[in-house]
Symmetry: C2
Subunit: 232 residues, 2 copies
């Protein structure tokens, strides 16, 4: 049987690690793509490398894409990451990076075309971060349609592009449970936007939005977070 | 009156220089964006800088975006650029870069959002390179629709995204005439994919597809190419 390939956008976080494990469980060979854009720490990249190894990726491509030069986000500029017990709901968080998923999916599309596959996996999820417009199903569908008109392989009818976003409607707890059932080692993932330096390396702040949602996910799934156990 | 901003994708070639001049003629303040992706020579970048100065760009952002690491094109890989008197017609040229316009427009979208404008200019043109799927109007419209769902500013109703592709239906001769009427200095532009080193710097090969279409444009417009005059 021919190899069934897919490109997985792998950030090193909990969501993309789970999406990658789901792609592998569907029988795909994984071509993992990590796009670095000047985040203020590189801890996520290390996680992406661990996860790529865990899922036995055929190839792991890490690109520095210069998106930070455009600015506009607390994650890439010098602005302070918002913290508190009640993360912002309703509005779009200031940690939103302009057009991030569009830029990410565009690179995935380029690589998918080279690999002659139409399947792309992204860990986009609408529930926890309802303020991110580029995590909604209608956005994903519009990207898929655009992709079908954009690239040689699709226009020539050799591939059909599918943006697989298997987590899109899941809660964080459902994601954690799903990942654990597939053997994801969450101690290899990283979520914190603003870690502190501890005795044995970086320690999650426990207060940023991303830490908050992660903790909520493990708590609701009734499981301890193995990353915290490791750091304490 | 408030500043009317636009992002212009500026490669340094004849088309994008003309599109930039057309945007300026419409009263836009120009925010020029040049995306470098490991082309085999950097001559185009120098042209982009000259043109940005010519059109009095408010800002010129040059980003290295690592697209060459993905491969798949004679322009970014080690493959030989095809030459001959009869450039390929009908099929998609091997100089096609996977998802290039999608990646380029995604960055333009990110910057446009930061600048709080919805106007993006791209020198896409369907006539000469009919084999590039991402130069067709239906592609441009699909990108525009996706963009309207992707970004905070559009979702919040503060901006409406328009991908302006003013050259899309023009012949190369019409583009040259239009540019000359707007005062574009074409000796500052660069088109050749595979230049040779001459006594006074790089010299266009005169044989690649891009040289061929450029020469045809100037010839049909009944004008000499000022770049060639300079190099001879």
């Amino acid at each position: 049987m021919a190899e069934k390939r897919c490109v997985v956008l792998l950030s090193g976080g909990l969501d993309s690690a789970t999406a990658a494990a789901m792609a592998a469980a569907e029988g795909f060979s994984i071509y993992a793509l990590t796009l670095h854009y000047g985040q203020r720490h590189k801890r996520e990249l290390e996680s992406a490398m661990l996860i790529a190894r865990d899922i036995k990726a055929q190839k792991h491509l890490v690109l520095d894409i210069g998106l930070d030069k455009i600015g506009g986000s607390a994650l890439t500029s010098g602005a302070e990451v918002p913290k508190g017990d009640s993360p912002a709901t309703g509005g779009i968080p200031v940690t939103y990076v302009p057009a991030r998923n569009t830029v990410f999916l565009s690179y995935a599309l380029a690589w998918a075309e080279v690999l002659e596959t139409g399947d792309i996996f992204i860990g986009a999820n609408i529930n926890d971060y309802s303020g991110y417009p580029d995590c909604r199903p209608e956005y994903i569908h519009a990207f898929e349609h655009m992709a079908s008109l954009a690239v040689k392989a699709a226009v020539e009818g050799r591939v059909r592009f599918r943006i697989n976003a298997p987590l899109i409607g899941m809660t964080k707890a459902e994601i954690v449970k799903k990942g654990l059932s597939l053997g994801v080692d969450y101690s290899h993932t990283w979520s914190c936007y603003d870690p502190a330096r501890g005795e044995s390396g970086l320690v999650p702040c426990g207060r940023c939005d991303s830490c908050h949602y992660r903790a909520k996910g493990f708590s609701e799934a009734g499981m301890p977070d193995p990353l915290l156990k490791k750091n304490i």
